[in-house]
Amino acid sequence: MTQAFDAAAQQTLLESRARMAVELARRLGADACEVGGSVDQGVSVSVREGEVETVELSRDQGIAVTVYVGQRKGSASSSDAGEASVRAVVEKALAIARHTGEDPASGLADARLMATELPDLDVHHPWPLSIDEATDLALRCESAGRGMAGIKSSDGASLSTGEGVRVYANSHGFLGSQSGSRHSLSCMLIAEDENGMQRDYDYTSARAPRDLATAEAVGESAARRTLQRLGARRPATGRMPVLFDSTLASGLVGHLMGAIAGGALYRQASFLCERLNDALFPEWFSLGERPMEVGAMASSPFDGDGVQTRDNVFIRDGRLASYMLSAYSARRLGLETTGNAGGARNLRLTAPLESREALLARMGRGVLVTELMGQGVNGVTGDYSRGAAGFWVEEGRIQHPVEEFTIAGNLETMFKGLIGIGDDIDTRGSIHTGSWLVDEMMVAGG
């Protein structure tokens, strides 16, 4: 990168600002205070049709302060973590806390829960890449894709690399810091036939540059994905099995986690209220998180409340074993925090895995979905209805691409109707899962 980023120096600076904010808040009358701070820096290079299109250098910082005066709370934040700004933010948060109402559940997490085990989780792997090198990688990626027969044009390839530091401190005396990095390379291509244009993409993303797929592999995969879509028709309307590609199955896990998140539960805005211990999935299915996994995308020893993270199991043998709670949502529900302020970290499932061929054979006739569109997921009722594109499957084999159809059902029925999981685990995000085969959904097409 052209701008040097001294993570250690940034960390020291942020830690001192966070301590300053906590002390200042206490001095100005706060009974408790918590502060989050971050600094991130990165470079992103986009190319299109063999030429550089944009070079973006980013440098973001921010500080967010929450104060508690009795049971009243006030929050303020700024994109400037300078000393003057920190002071202004603390004062503003205190001013707000004079107006908000009493909340018996408000306050920091219990001091005894603060993280004490703070190992280095090996998530900071900077990539000392010049703009020219970044450009070269993006160009190689695009070129590999454009070179494949049938590709009409490119919608661009992009390389991004970034690193940053985040700090959390509170008036229990807890202070946690973590630096991390993320790098990605993506490519989007366009193909055309007599029925019109089709576009698709692929990407690679990792904490460490060595874990990225090669530029050529990403470009070629983007081209294959795009070409496969040509000649798409609309599928028949009817009830049939649906196979969610692994790139989309993580979204289904996400909907589950949204429904067992404390915030949705205490607001009664979830279809999984008061369902602890109920059988939601087949008994061969378990799901848990590994927040301390070394080098993983969402690893952290402490959560957004400073609480020590732990290996939670959310679904055990098909049953809902635990909600996902922060200190606040736990108090609202009369439960204990699960160390999930800020969400789940590195979700992994335990289930027998099958090959794509085996899943298609079991499906017989149905659709393999590789793209979902729109926001048709209702977390309150579990109703699910989304636009989709993918492939028509008959006699256990892919027949032709399909598009412009919807798949509809209810998440609870879909979870219960999960009949198989693929061995094609997508490891690019923080949720790792293979494809999901759901026994029956309504497909609306031609």
Partner: protein, 484 residues
């Protein structure tokens, strides 16, 4: 220069430049750093914003937040290449460093001069005010508590009420190497109510909200707390009665106002200049061609007074304007920013928008709507034997290359033999933009704009937008319900 333009520039300069020891004259030097060898255009975008949000839950305002954001974004262009860097410090040193970084995309070439700044004259489309200061904290809390009381009193099945009041005060200043000098002060406020109603073990949500570019007092004067509370409860109660939506192809009638999100998705994005320059839009190269049924006229209009999507000047300093995109079914224009306009040999249309100083501008929609037709909305419904009447939507998405769009109804009904019958839940509509526009067969005389709730996302950047339309009949669209 009008006195109003002058006052706006003075205020923006005081807010944005003075604290870092800069003034308008110093911007020529600042821009000079970005006009490196081979650079043919550069601009500086200064911004400061103050965001305030109050949230009520369980009958109490337990949360409120305040955010201060700001900095300068520097862009340098050479042909189709763009270099971009930004800083949260607005100082001479930061301008020099970010300028040199942005200009680093090209190493050789002529060094062009910065044209002297000429203040852009534009008509104000909203008052250049700080919308946060008009009401006291007590007033704001009282509005939220009123919404809670009204919603709970409206029906015993209401178990949860949340309400929020947000406001943004934003000051921007643009100085570009082509001589552009423009400032804008953009207020934006919004009030929202969301309720959960439970009956016979069934749980449904209803929500309503709105706002625009004006002071918070106006929300109180227009009694939005009570109106949106009642509307949210009404929607939740309708959904408690809803039956499963049908699946398959059928006629769809869209209600007036917010369902204009269909236009935004099905047509709007495909007419943004960048996609058409790159040839990646299903509408590329089709100006002058029929892309919709006769009678369909679609405009993007930044000049509507006080609307959520309105802009006095865009984020490149071009005055906001009204652009006819489709006239009587014929494609007449694209929405452009300066770069895409220049590369396509067209004029900018005042559609350059960016989420903040830390984002690059792109061609984006402002307020996009379809003009009224002549049909009576009652006749439109009567013409349908079996179909769907959709009056509110949760959101939508489009693939601009294939033209496929999707959107999800949050309030919809069955039409049977020309009459609205049972409410339906979980109806998702899917279609192809150009095809759907060709299936518009009736257009109502009841054009309405939405209440001011839209946020449009593109390449990760969110900006406020408006939509609108009259009651509309599409002869055939795929409805993605669960019932055959």
């Amino acid at each position: 220069m009008t006195s109003q333009t002058h006052a706006m520039l003075d205020e923006a300069s005081t807010v944005l430049l003075t604290p870092g020891g800069l003034d308008l004259a110093a911007l020529d030097d600042g821009l000079g750093h970005a006009m490196g060898p081979g650079i043919d255009y550069a601009d500086l975008y200064f911004q400061r914003s103050w965001h305030e949000g109050w949230v009520l839950e369980d009958g109490e305002v337990k949360e409120a937040s305040y955010n201060i954001d700001g900095g300068v974004g520097v862009r340098a262009q050479a042909g189709e290449k763009t270099g971009f860097a930004y800083s949260n410090q607005i100082t001479g040193d930061a301008l020099a460093e970010t300028g040199r970084t942005a200009a680093g995309i090209v190493r050789r070439g002529d060094r062009l001069a910065v044209a002297p700044g000429v203040a852009m004259t534009s008509q104000a489309r909203y008052a250049g005010i700080d919308p946060l200061t008009g009401l006291s904290a007590e007033d704001k809390i009282a509005m939220l508590k009123l919404a809670d009381r009204v919603a709970r009193a409206a029906d015993p099945s209401v178990t949860q009420v949340s309400a929020s009041l947000t406001g943004v005060h934003e000051v921007v200043l643009v100085r570009a190497s082509d001589g552009t000098l423009a400032a804008d002060i953009r207020p934006l406020v919004r009030f929202n109510v969301s309720v959960i109603a439970v009956r016979n073990g069934r749980r449904e949500r209803g929500s309503a909200g709105g706002g625009g570019r004006y002071a918070m007092q106006r929300l109180r004067d227009e009694n939005v707390a009570e109106r949106y509370a009642k509307e949210a409860v009404r929607q939740a109660l309708v959904n408690l009665e809803a039956v499963d939506a049908p699946a398959g192809q059928m006629p769809v009638v869209l209600g007036p106002g917010w369902p204009g999100i269909l236009l935004h998705e099905a047509v709007g994005h495909g007419l943004e200049g960048d996609f058409n320059r790159k040839g990646s839009s299903a509408f590329a190269g089709r100006i002058g061609e029929r892309v919709a049924s006769p009678g369909v006229t679609v405009v993007d209009d930044a000049t509507l007074a006080d609307r959520r999507g309105s802009l006095s000047v865009d984020d490149e300093g071009t005055p906001g304007q009204s652009t006819t995109l489709i006239e009587d079914g014929i494609l007449t224009g694209y929405m452009q920013d300066k770069v895409n306009a220049r590369l396509m040999g067209m004029a900018p249309t005042g559609n350059a928008r960016r989420e903040s100083f830390a984002h690059l501008p792109m061609p984006r929609m402002t307020n996009t709507y379809m003009r009224a037709g002549s049909d009576d909305p009652a006749d439109i419904l009567k013409s349908v034997t079996r179909g769907i009447y959709a009056v509110s939507f949760g959101g939508g998405q489009v693939d601009i290359t294939s033209g496929k769009f999707v959107f999800s109804a949050s309030e919809a009904y069955l039409i049977e033999d020309g009459r609205i019958t049972a409410p339906v839940k979980g109806a998702t509509l899917i279609g192809n933009g150009p095809e759907a526009m060709g299936r518009v067969s009736m257009i109502g005389h009841d054009m309405e704009l939405d209440t001011g709730i839209g946020v449009c996302g593109k390449e990760g950047q969110g900006v406020p937008v408006g939509v609108g339309q009259p009651t509309l009949k599409l002869d055939e669209l795929t409805v993605g319900g669960t019932q055959s």
